[in-house]
Protein backbone atom coordinates (compact mmCIF):
# COMPACT_ATOMS: atom_id res chain seq x y z
CA UNK A 1 0.00 0.00 0.00
CA UNK A 2 1.25 3.42 -0.82
CA UNK A 3 1.01 5.51 2.27
CA UNK A 4 0.13 9.15 2.39
CA UNK A 5 2.69 10.66 4.78
CA UNK A 6 0.17 13.26 5.88
CA UNK A 7 -2.53 10.84 7.02
CA UNK A 8 -1.14 9.49 10.32
CA UNK A 9 0.06 12.87 11.53
CA UNK A 10 -3.37 14.21 10.63
CA UNK A 11 -5.11 11.62 12.81
CA UNK A 12 -2.90 12.36 15.79
CA UNK A 13 -3.02 16.12 15.43
CA UNK A 14 -6.79 16.06 15.15
CA UNK A 15 -6.95 14.41 18.58
CA UNK A 16 -4.66 17.09 19.95
CA UNK A 17 -6.35 20.07 18.29
CA UNK A 18 -9.98 19.13 18.56
CA UNK A 19 -10.08 16.93 21.69
CA UNK A 20 -7.28 18.67 23.57
CA UNK A 21 -5.45 15.35 24.00
CA UNK A 22 -1.87 15.36 25.26
CA UNK A 23 0.42 14.73 22.33
CA UNK A 24 2.11 11.70 23.92
CA UNK A 25 -1.26 10.18 24.72
CA UNK A 26 -2.59 10.92 21.23
CA UNK A 27 0.39 9.16 19.65
CA UNK A 28 -0.04 6.17 21.95
CA UNK A 29 -3.78 5.98 21.25
CA UNK A 30 -3.55 6.15 17.46
CA UNK A 31 -2.89 3.22 15.19
CA UNK A 32 -0.07 4.37 12.97
CA UNK A 33 2.00 2.69 10.32
CA UNK A 34 4.99 1.31 12.22
CA UNK A 35 7.46 1.70 9.40
CA UNK A 36 6.86 5.45 9.24
CA UNK A 37 6.53 5.98 12.99
CA UNK A 38 9.59 8.21 13.34
CA UNK A 39 8.54 10.40 10.41
CA UNK A 40 5.00 10.67 11.76
CA UNK A 41 6.18 11.58 15.24
CA UNK A 42 8.62 14.10 13.83
CA UNK A 43 5.87 15.81 11.85
CA UNK A 44 3.46 15.84 14.82
CA UNK A 45 6.00 17.44 17.14
CA UNK A 46 7.22 19.77 14.41
CA UNK A 47 3.72 21.07 13.73
CA UNK A 48 3.01 21.63 17.43
CA UNK A 49 6.35 23.33 17.99
CA UNK A 50 5.68 25.78 15.16
CA UNK A 51 1.96 26.12 15.64
CA UNK A 52 1.95 29.86 16.34
CA UNK A 53 4.04 30.65 13.29
CA UNK A 54 1.92 28.39 11.07
CA UNK A 55 -1.22 30.13 12.31
CA UNK A 56 0.32 33.39 11.22
CA UNK A 57 1.11 31.90 7.78
CA UNK A 58 -2.44 30.65 7.37
CA UNK A 59 -3.94 33.95 8.49
CA UNK A 60 -1.85 35.77 5.96
CA UNK A 61 -2.88 33.69 2.95
CA UNK A 62 -6.37 32.70 4.08
CA UNK A 63 -7.85 35.53 6.10
CA UNK A 64 -11.24 33.79 6.25
CA UNK A 65 -9.92 31.25 8.78
CA UNK A 66 -10.40 27.79 7.28
CA UNK A 67 -11.91 24.97 9.33
CA UNK A 68 -9.81 22.97 11.79
CA UNK A 69 -9.28 19.95 9.50
CA UNK A 70 -8.07 22.19 6.68
CA UNK A 71 -5.83 24.15 9.02
CA UNK A 72 -4.30 20.90 10.26
CA UNK A 73 -3.60 19.73 6.72
CA UNK A 74 -2.04 23.10 5.90
CA UNK A 75 0.13 23.04 9.02
CA UNK A 76 1.45 19.57 8.22
CA UNK A 77 2.16 20.72 4.66
CA UNK A 78 3.93 23.84 5.86
CA UNK A 79 6.10 21.77 8.17
CA UNK A 80 7.10 19.42 5.37
CA UNK A 81 7.75 22.33 3.04
CA UNK A 82 9.73 24.52 5.44
CA UNK A 83 11.43 22.13 7.82
CA UNK A 84 11.79 18.86 5.92
CA UNK A 85 12.85 20.39 2.62
CA UNK A 86 10.22 18.50 0.66
CA UNK A 87 9.41 19.59 -2.87
CA UNK A 88 6.40 21.87 -3.17
CA UNK A 89 4.68 19.71 -5.78
CA UNK A 90 5.07 16.65 -3.57
CA UNK A 91 3.71 18.39 -0.47
CA UNK A 92 0.82 19.83 -2.45
CA UNK A 93 0.01 16.46 -3.94
CA UNK A 94 -0.03 14.79 -0.51
CA UNK A 95 -2.25 17.51 0.92
CA UNK A 96 -4.72 17.42 -1.95
CA UNK A 97 -4.73 13.61 -1.80
CA UNK A 98 -5.57 13.72 1.89
CA UNK A 99 -8.42 16.18 1.30
CA UNK A 100 -9.91 13.72 -1.17
CA UNK A 101 -9.34 10.74 1.12
CA UNK A 102 -11.20 12.59 3.88
CA UNK A 103 -14.05 13.35 1.48
CA UNK A 104 -13.21 17.03 1.48
CA UNK A 105 -12.93 17.42 -2.26
CA UNK A 106 -14.53 20.86 -1.92
CA UNK A 107 -11.47 22.31 -0.22
CA UNK A 108 -8.79 20.58 -2.25
CA UNK A 109 -8.73 23.48 -4.67
CA UNK A 110 -8.22 25.95 -1.86
CA UNK A 111 -5.44 23.84 -0.30
CA UNK A 112 -3.79 23.50 -3.70
CA UNK A 113 -3.93 27.25 -4.29
CA UNK A 114 -2.68 28.03 -0.79
CA UNK A 115 0.37 25.81 -1.06
CA UNK A 116 1.23 27.14 -4.49
CA UNK A 117 0.97 30.75 -3.45
CA UNK A 118 2.68 30.43 -0.07
CA UNK A 119 5.93 32.33 -0.01
CA UNK A 120 8.19 32.06 2.99
CA UNK A 121 10.27 35.16 2.46
CA UNK A 122 7.23 37.39 2.07
CA UNK A 123 5.68 35.81 5.16
CA UNK A 124 8.79 36.29 7.25
CA UNK A 125 9.01 39.87 6.08
CA UNK A 126 5.43 40.31 7.29
CA UNK A 127 6.40 38.85 10.68
CA UNK A 128 9.12 41.48 10.93
CA UNK A 129 6.44 44.13 10.37
CA UNK A 130 4.63 43.25 13.60
CA UNK A 131 5.11 46.45 15.58
CA UNK A 132 5.18 45.06 19.12
CA UNK A 133 8.50 43.38 19.86
CA UNK A 134 7.03 40.74 22.17
CA UNK A 135 4.20 39.88 19.76
CA UNK A 136 6.72 39.57 16.96
CA UNK A 137 9.00 37.28 18.94
CA UNK A 138 5.99 35.25 20.08
CA UNK A 139 4.92 34.59 16.46
CA UNK A 140 8.45 33.92 15.29
CA UNK A 141 9.10 31.42 18.06
CA UNK A 142 5.54 30.05 18.29
CA UNK A 143 5.43 30.94 21.96
CA UNK A 144 2.35 32.36 23.72
CA UNK A 145 2.77 36.14 23.92
CA UNK A 146 1.99 36.35 27.66
CA UNK A 147 4.60 33.70 28.45
CA UNK A 148 7.17 35.33 26.20
CA UNK A 149 6.59 38.62 28.00
CA UNK A 150 7.35 36.93 31.32
CA UNK A 151 10.51 35.34 29.93
CA UNK A 152 11.62 38.73 28.69
CA UNK A 153 10.96 40.33 32.09
CA UNK A 154 12.82 37.64 33.97
CA UNK A 155 15.64 36.70 31.63
CA UNK A 156 16.02 39.70 29.30
CA UNK A 157 17.97 38.99 26.15
CA UNK A 158 18.18 35.32 27.00
CA UNK A 159 14.41 34.93 26.52
CA UNK A 160 14.66 33.81 22.89
CA UNK A 161 17.28 31.15 23.64
CA UNK A 162 15.12 29.81 26.44
CA UNK A 163 11.97 29.85 24.31
CA UNK A 164 13.60 28.07 21.38
CA UNK A 165 15.84 25.62 23.25
CA UNK A 166 15.57 22.15 21.80
CA UNK A 167 15.25 18.96 23.73
CA UNK A 168 18.68 17.58 24.54
CA UNK A 169 17.62 14.10 23.45
CA UNK A 170 16.48 11.03 25.32
CA UNK A 171 17.63 11.06 28.95
CA UNK A 172 18.25 7.55 30.23
CA UNK A 173 19.21 6.60 33.78
CA UNK A 174 20.78 3.15 34.10
CA UNK A 175 20.68 0.84 37.06
CA UNK A 176 22.77 -1.87 35.41
CA UNK A 177 24.31 -3.04 32.13
CA UNK A 178 24.85 0.45 30.77
CA UNK A 179 28.09 -0.41 28.93
CA UNK A 180 26.32 -2.17 26.03
CA UNK A 181 24.37 1.00 25.17
CA UNK A 182 27.21 3.48 25.34
CA UNK A 183 28.47 2.73 21.82
CA UNK A 184 25.49 4.75 20.56
CA UNK A 185 25.95 8.51 20.23
CA UNK A 186 25.31 10.11 23.60
CA UNK A 187 26.20 13.00 25.85
CA UNK A 188 27.36 12.63 29.45
CA UNK A 189 25.42 14.42 32.16
CA UNK A 190 26.77 15.57 35.54
CA UNK A 191 24.89 12.67 37.15
CA UNK A 192 26.16 9.10 37.49
CA UNK A 193 24.74 6.44 35.14
CA UNK A 194 22.71 9.08 33.30
CA UNK A 195 23.25 9.82 29.61
CA UNK A 196 21.44 11.68 26.90
CA UNK A 197 21.06 9.77 23.65
CA UNK A 198 20.20 11.17 20.24
CA UNK A 199 17.76 8.31 19.98
CA UNK A 200 17.14 5.30 22.11
CA UNK A 201 15.04 2.28 21.20
CA UNK A 202 13.37 0.68 24.18
CA UNK A 203 14.18 -3.01 24.56
CA UNK A 204 13.74 -5.79 27.13
CA UNK A 205 16.20 -4.02 29.41
CA UNK A 206 13.46 -1.50 30.10
CA UNK A 207 11.00 -4.13 31.32
CA UNK A 208 13.79 -5.76 33.33
CA UNK A 209 14.36 -2.49 35.16
CA UNK A 210 17.93 -2.11 33.88
CA UNK A 211 17.23 1.50 32.96
CA UNK A 212 14.51 4.07 32.96
CA UNK A 213 13.67 7.23 31.04
CA UNK A 214 13.99 10.12 33.45
CA UNK A 215 14.59 13.74 32.58
CA UNK A 216 17.87 15.21 33.70
CA UNK A 217 15.91 17.94 35.50
CA UNK A 218 14.04 15.37 37.55
CA UNK A 219 17.36 13.75 38.47
CA UNK A 220 18.80 17.15 39.41
CA UNK A 221 15.88 17.73 41.79
CA UNK A 222 16.43 14.34 43.45
CA UNK A 223 20.12 15.21 43.74
CA UNK A 224 19.14 18.29 45.79
CA UNK A 225 17.14 16.20 48.26
CA UNK A 226 19.28 15.16 51.23
CA UNK A 227 19.37 11.51 52.27
CA UNK A 228 17.05 10.83 55.20
CA UNK A 229 15.15 8.11 56.99
CA UNK A 230 11.54 8.91 56.08
CA UNK A 231 10.73 10.87 52.97
CA UNK A 232 7.37 11.92 51.57
CA UNK A 233 7.03 12.49 47.82
CA UNK A 234 3.78 14.44 47.92
CA UNK A 235 2.95 14.61 44.18
CA UNK A 236 4.63 11.44 43.11
CA UNK A 237 3.19 9.99 39.89
CA UNK A 238 4.53 8.50 37.71
CA UNK A 239 7.07 7.71 40.43
CA UNK A 240 10.42 8.56 38.84
CA UNK A 241 11.58 10.72 41.71
CA UNK A 242 10.23 8.37 44.42
CA UNK A 243 12.10 5.43 42.92
CA UNK A 244 15.37 7.33 42.54
CA UNK A 245 15.10 8.78 46.07
CA UNK A 246 14.51 5.29 47.45
CA UNK A 247 18.22 4.73 46.78
CA UNK A 248 19.22 7.18 49.49
CA UNK A 249 16.18 7.31 51.78
CA UNK A 250 15.20 4.37 53.94
CA UNK A 251 11.46 4.69 53.41
CA UNK A 252 9.70 6.68 50.72
CA UNK A 253 5.98 7.38 50.96
CA UNK A 254 4.40 8.50 47.69
CA UNK A 255 1.14 10.41 47.65
CA UNK A 256 -0.81 10.79 44.43
CA UNK A 257 -4.22 12.32 43.93
CA UNK A 258 -5.55 10.11 41.11
CA UNK A 259 -6.06 6.36 41.46
CA UNK A 260 -4.91 5.51 37.94
CA UNK A 261 -1.71 7.44 38.54
CA UNK A 262 -1.10 5.63 41.84
CA UNK A 263 -1.11 2.52 39.67
CA UNK A 264 1.63 4.07 37.52
CA UNK A 265 3.83 4.45 40.61
CA UNK A 266 3.23 0.82 41.56
CA UNK A 267 4.16 -0.36 38.07
CA UNK A 268 7.22 1.88 37.99
CA UNK A 269 8.63 0.70 41.33
CA UNK A 270 7.93 -2.95 40.53
CA UNK A 271 9.61 -2.66 37.16
CA UNK A 272 12.65 -1.13 38.87
CA UNK A 273 12.57 -3.72 41.65
CA UNK A 274 12.29 -1.15 44.42
CA UNK A 275 10.66 -2.30 47.67
CA UNK A 276 10.96 0.71 50.00
CA UNK A 277 8.40 2.91 48.23
CA UNK A 278 4.82 2.93 49.58
CA UNK A 279 2.30 4.52 47.24
CA UNK A 280 -1.01 5.89 48.51
CA UNK A 281 -3.91 7.69 46.93
CA UNK A 282 -4.11 10.96 48.83
CA UNK A 283 -4.77 14.61 48.14
CA UNK A 284 -1.67 16.47 49.27
CA UNK A 285 -3.62 19.68 49.67
CA UNK A 286 -5.91 18.24 52.37
CA UNK A 287 -4.30 17.83 55.81
CA UNK A 288 -4.22 14.34 57.30
CA UNK A 289 -3.31 14.40 61.01
CA UNK A 290 -1.95 10.86 60.74
CA UNK A 291 1.15 12.28 59.04
CA UNK A 292 1.72 15.34 61.21
CA UNK A 293 5.50 15.85 61.71
CA UNK A 294 6.03 12.31 60.40
CA UNK A 295 8.76 12.95 57.83
CA UNK A 296 12.40 14.09 57.84
CA UNK A 297 11.97 15.32 54.31
CA UNK A 298 8.97 16.23 52.18
CA UNK A 299 9.21 16.83 48.43
CA UNK A 300 6.38 18.81 46.85
CA UNK A 301 6.84 18.47 43.09
CA UNK A 302 3.79 20.61 42.57
CA UNK A 303 1.47 20.64 39.56
CA UNK A 304 2.59 23.53 37.36
CA UNK A 305 2.29 25.07 33.91
CA UNK A 306 5.02 22.77 32.58
CA UNK A 307 6.68 25.53 30.58
CA UNK A 308 10.09 24.11 31.41
CA UNK A 309 9.28 21.06 29.32
CA UNK A 310 7.84 22.60 26.14
CA UNK A 311 10.68 21.15 24.10
CA UNK A 312 9.32 17.71 25.06
CA UNK A 313 5.65 18.70 25.26
CA UNK A 314 5.02 21.39 22.65
CA UNK A 315 1.25 21.10 23.14
CA UNK A 316 1.68 23.02 26.42
CA UNK A 317 2.31 26.15 24.36
CA UNK A 318 -1.08 25.72 22.69
CA UNK A 319 -3.29 24.88 25.62
CA UNK A 320 -1.84 26.66 28.62
CA UNK A 321 -3.60 29.99 29.02
CA UNK A 322 -2.66 32.94 31.16
CA UNK A 323 -5.86 32.46 33.17
CA UNK A 324 -4.72 28.97 34.25
CA UNK A 325 -1.95 30.41 36.39
CA UNK A 326 -4.32 31.59 39.11
CA UNK A 327 -5.66 28.09 39.67
CA UNK A 328 -2.18 26.60 39.53
CA UNK A 329 -0.90 29.07 42.14
CA UNK A 330 -3.81 28.19 44.38
CA UNK A 331 -3.00 24.47 44.13
CA UNK A 332 0.72 25.09 44.64
CA UNK A 333 0.11 27.14 47.78
CA UNK A 334 -2.40 24.66 49.18
CA UNK A 335 0.03 21.77 48.76
CA UNK A 336 2.86 23.61 50.52
CA UNK A 337 0.51 24.83 53.24
CA UNK A 338 -0.58 21.26 53.94
CA UNK A 339 2.68 19.41 53.41
CA UNK A 340 4.75 21.72 55.61
CA UNK A 341 2.84 20.25 58.56
CA UNK A 342 4.15 16.79 57.71
CA UNK A 343 7.76 17.94 58.23
CA UNK A 344 9.48 17.28 61.56
CA UNK A 345 11.23 20.19 63.28
CA UNK A 346 14.70 20.24 61.81
CA UNK A 347 13.45 18.47 58.70
CA UNK A 348 13.34 19.81 55.16
CA UNK A 349 10.56 20.79 52.79
CA UNK A 350 11.48 20.81 49.09
CA UNK A 351 9.39 22.67 46.54
CA UNK A 352 9.94 21.91 42.88
CA UNK A 353 8.25 22.55 39.55
CA UNK A 354 8.98 22.21 35.85
CA UNK A 355 8.22 25.89 35.32
CA UNK A 356 10.39 28.82 34.23
CA UNK A 357 8.35 31.55 35.84
CA UNK A 358 8.91 33.39 39.09
CA UNK A 359 5.18 33.36 39.84
CA UNK A 360 5.22 29.57 40.12
CA UNK A 361 8.63 29.30 41.77
CA UNK A 362 10.26 31.90 44.03
CA UNK A 363 6.93 33.76 44.15
CA UNK A 364 5.17 30.76 45.70
CA UNK A 365 8.06 30.24 48.12
CA UNK A 366 7.95 33.88 49.19
CA UNK A 367 4.20 33.75 49.76
CA UNK A 368 4.72 30.60 51.83
CA UNK A 369 7.50 32.19 53.90
CA UNK A 370 5.21 35.08 54.76
CA UNK A 371 2.94 32.71 56.64
CA UNK A 372 5.64 30.38 57.92
CA UNK A 373 8.39 32.15 59.76
CA UNK A 374 9.55 28.85 61.21
CA UNK A 375 10.98 27.95 57.79
CA UNK A 376 14.36 29.10 56.50
CA UNK A 377 15.50 28.74 52.92
CA UNK A 378 18.79 26.90 52.57
CA UNK A 379 20.71 27.51 49.40
CA UNK A 380 21.14 24.42 47.26
CA UNK A 381 24.02 23.35 45.07
CA UNK A 382 23.75 21.43 41.81
CA UNK A 383 26.24 20.15 39.23
CA UNK A 384 23.67 20.87 36.50
CA UNK A 385 24.02 24.44 35.15
CA UNK A 386 21.51 26.69 36.87
CA UNK A 387 20.60 30.27 37.74
CA UNK A 388 20.44 31.21 41.40
CA UNK A 389 17.17 32.87 42.24
CA UNK A 390 16.45 34.68 45.48
CA UNK A 391 15.43 31.40 47.13
CA UNK A 392 15.73 28.43 44.79
CA UNK A 393 17.73 27.08 41.86
CA UNK A 394 16.34 27.59 38.38
CA UNK A 395 17.44 25.19 35.65
CA UNK A 396 16.88 26.67 32.21
CA UNK A 397 16.45 24.70 29.00
CA UNK A 398 19.09 26.57 26.98
CA UNK A 399 21.88 25.45 29.32
CA UNK A 400 20.56 22.33 31.04
CA UNK A 401 19.97 19.84 28.17
CA UNK A 402 16.54 21.31 27.38
CA UNK A 403 15.32 20.96 30.96
CA UNK A 404 13.54 23.83 32.71
CA UNK A 405 13.06 23.06 36.39
CA UNK A 406 13.03 24.81 39.76
CA UNK A 407 13.82 23.54 43.22
CA UNK A 408 14.01 25.18 46.65
CA UNK A 409 14.85 23.79 50.09
CA UNK A 410 13.14 25.06 53.25
CA UNK A 411 14.23 23.89 56.68
CA UNK A 412 11.77 23.82 59.54
CA UNK A 413 13.23 25.49 62.57
CA UNK A 414 12.18 27.82 65.32
CA UNK A 415 9.87 30.76 64.88
CA UNK A 416 11.70 34.10 64.89
Amino acid sequence: MLSNPVYDPFLILTKVYSDGAHVKQAIADTYIEEQYRSRTVKIVYGVLENDGYFDFCIRRYAPKAPKLAVRTILKISLYMLLYMDKQRYMVTDCAVGLCKKLGKTGVSGFVNAFLRRFDREATDAAVEQIPDETERAAVKNSYPAYAYRWLKQEYGTRAEEIATAKSGGVSVRFVKDEAQYLSKPHKDTPFPHTYIFESFVRDDGFDDGNYTFQSVGSIAICDCVAACENLLDACAAPGGKSVLLAQKCKNVTSFELHAHRVELIRQYKERMGVTNVTELQKDSSVFDPAYEEAFDGVLCDAPCSGFGTVSENPDIKLFRKEADFQGLAKAQRAILETCCRYVKTGGALYYSTCSLFERENDGIVQAFLKNHREFTVEQLESPLPHDRKKYGLQFLPDRAFGAGFYVCKLVKGREV
Binding site: L369, T376, Q379, K390, V416
Partner: protein, 150 residues
Protein backbone atom coordinates in the same frame (compact mmCIF):
# COMPACT_ATOMS: atom_id res chain seq x y z
CA UNK B 1 23.02 43.48 87.35
CA UNK B 2 20.42 45.52 85.65
CA UNK B 3 18.18 45.47 82.65
CA UNK B 4 19.28 48.10 80.20
CA UNK B 5 17.14 50.12 77.88
CA UNK B 6 17.24 48.88 74.25
CA UNK B 7 17.83 51.73 71.83
CA UNK B 8 15.40 51.91 68.88
CA UNK B 9 16.08 52.48 65.20
CA UNK B 10 16.52 56.16 64.41
CA UNK B 11 19.00 56.59 67.24
CA UNK B 12 22.39 57.48 65.82
CA UNK B 13 24.20 55.10 68.17
CA UNK B 14 22.94 52.16 66.08
CA UNK B 15 24.69 53.57 63.02
CA UNK B 16 28.20 53.98 64.46
CA UNK B 17 31.19 51.75 64.05
CA UNK B 18 32.10 50.33 67.47
CA UNK B 19 35.55 50.46 69.08
CA UNK B 20 37.51 47.34 70.01
CA UNK B 21 37.55 46.28 73.64
CA UNK B 22 40.98 46.65 75.21
CA UNK B 23 40.28 46.30 78.92
CA UNK B 24 38.81 43.00 80.08
CA UNK B 25 37.83 44.41 83.43
CA UNK B 26 34.89 44.58 85.79
CA UNK B 27 33.27 47.30 83.75
CA UNK B 28 33.14 44.92 80.73
CA UNK B 29 31.81 42.11 82.90
CA UNK B 30 29.05 44.36 84.22
CA UNK B 31 28.11 45.23 80.66
CA UNK B 32 28.05 41.53 79.68
CA UNK B 33 25.97 40.61 82.72
CA UNK B 34 23.49 43.36 81.98
CA UNK B 35 23.28 42.34 78.33
CA UNK B 36 22.56 38.76 79.36
CA UNK B 37 19.78 39.83 81.64
CA UNK B 38 18.35 42.15 79.02
CA UNK B 39 18.38 39.62 76.16
CA UNK B 40 16.78 36.97 78.39
CA UNK B 41 14.06 39.35 79.53
CA UNK B 42 13.35 40.53 76.00
CA UNK B 43 13.41 36.94 74.73
CA UNK B 44 15.83 37.89 71.98
CA UNK B 45 18.23 35.62 70.11
CA UNK B 46 21.05 38.09 70.63
CA UNK B 47 22.06 41.60 71.57
CA UNK B 48 24.93 43.85 70.59
CA UNK B 49 26.48 46.54 72.81
CA UNK B 50 25.37 49.49 70.66
CA UNK B 51 21.78 48.37 71.21
CA UNK B 52 22.24 49.30 74.85
CA UNK B 53 24.07 52.49 73.90
CA UNK B 54 27.65 51.26 74.31
CA UNK B 55 29.94 51.67 71.30
CA UNK B 56 32.14 48.63 71.98
CA UNK B 57 32.68 45.47 69.95
CA UNK B 58 30.68 43.26 72.26
CA UNK B 59 27.73 40.99 71.42
CA UNK B 60 25.84 38.14 73.01
CA UNK B 61 23.92 35.36 71.29
CA UNK B 62 21.30 33.18 72.98
CA UNK B 63 20.19 30.24 70.83
CA UNK B 64 19.47 26.53 71.16
CA UNK B 65 23.19 25.83 70.81
CA UNK B 66 23.77 27.79 74.02
CA UNK B 67 24.58 31.22 75.36
CA UNK B 68 27.69 32.92 73.96
CA UNK B 69 29.61 36.11 74.62
CA UNK B 70 31.64 37.57 71.77
CA UNK B 71 34.23 40.28 72.30
CA UNK B 72 36.08 41.72 69.30
CA UNK B 73 34.59 39.05 67.04
CA UNK B 74 35.70 38.57 63.41
CA UNK B 75 34.18 36.27 60.79
CA UNK B 76 37.08 34.29 59.36
CA UNK B 77 35.17 32.40 56.70
CA UNK B 78 31.65 31.71 55.57
CA UNK B 79 29.96 29.09 53.45
CA UNK B 80 26.61 28.60 51.75
CA UNK B 81 23.57 30.77 51.98
CA UNK B 82 20.23 30.77 53.79
CA UNK B 83 17.25 33.12 53.62
CA UNK B 84 14.88 33.45 56.52
CA UNK B 85 13.05 35.68 58.90
CA UNK B 86 14.78 37.97 61.39
CA UNK B 87 13.58 40.42 63.92
CA UNK B 88 15.56 42.87 66.02
CA UNK B 89 15.05 44.22 69.53
CA UNK B 90 15.96 47.64 68.12
CA UNK B 91 13.37 47.47 65.31
CA UNK B 92 10.21 46.64 67.17
CA UNK B 93 7.07 45.46 65.42
CA UNK B 94 8.75 44.35 62.21
CA UNK B 95 10.47 41.35 60.74
CA UNK B 96 12.07 40.64 57.41
CA UNK B 97 13.63 38.00 55.19
CA UNK B 98 17.40 38.30 55.12
CA UNK B 99 19.99 36.27 53.27
CA UNK B 100 22.92 35.08 55.44
CA UNK B 101 25.72 32.53 55.16
CA UNK B 102 24.76 28.96 56.07
CA UNK B 103 27.95 28.45 58.10
CA UNK B 104 30.45 30.84 59.65
CA UNK B 105 33.78 30.48 61.42
CA UNK B 106 34.32 33.18 64.05
CA UNK B 107 37.39 34.26 66.00
CA UNK B 108 36.71 36.25 69.17
CA UNK B 109 37.77 36.82 72.75
CA UNK B 110 35.92 35.73 75.84
CA UNK B 111 35.31 37.97 78.86
CA UNK B 112 38.81 37.23 80.15
CA UNK B 113 40.47 38.22 76.89
CA UNK B 114 41.22 34.61 75.87
CA UNK B 115 41.18 33.98 72.13
CA UNK B 116 38.48 31.59 70.97
CA UNK B 117 37.37 29.99 67.72
CA UNK B 118 33.89 28.80 66.92
CA UNK B 119 31.96 27.36 64.01
CA UNK B 120 28.25 27.93 63.73
CA UNK B 121 25.60 26.95 61.24
CA UNK B 122 21.93 27.46 60.56
CA UNK B 123 20.09 29.79 62.90
CA UNK B 124 23.15 30.15 65.16
CA UNK B 125 25.18 31.43 62.19
CA UNK B 126 22.35 33.79 61.30
CA UNK B 127 22.22 35.23 64.83
CA UNK B 128 25.99 35.77 64.91
CA UNK B 129 25.94 37.58 61.56
CA UNK B 130 23.04 39.74 62.70
CA UNK B 131 24.79 40.79 65.94
CA UNK B 132 28.15 41.35 64.27
CA UNK B 133 26.51 43.66 61.75
CA UNK B 134 25.40 45.84 64.68
CA UNK B 135 29.05 46.43 65.60
CA UNK B 136 29.53 48.13 62.22
CA UNK B 137 26.31 50.14 62.35
CA UNK B 138 24.41 47.79 60.02
CA UNK B 139 20.82 46.72 60.71
CA UNK B 140 18.99 43.80 59.12
CA UNK B 141 16.51 46.22 57.57
CA UNK B 142 19.37 47.45 55.37
CA UNK B 143 19.69 43.97 53.87
CA UNK B 144 16.20 42.46 54.00
CA UNK B 145 14.57 41.44 50.72
CA UNK B 146 11.14 41.71 52.33
CA UNK B 147 9.99 43.55 55.45
CA UNK B 148 6.65 43.05 57.11
CA UNK B 149 4.89 44.11 60.28
CA UNK B 150 5.58 41.40 62.84
Amino acid sequence: MAIRNVVQVGDDVLRQKCFPVEAFDEKLWALLDDMKETVKKEDGAGLAAPQVGVLRRVAVVDVEDGYFEFINPVILSQKGEQSGWEGCLSVRGKSGIVSRPMKVKVAYQDRYGEKQLLQAKGFFARAICHELDHLDGVLYIDKATLIEKA
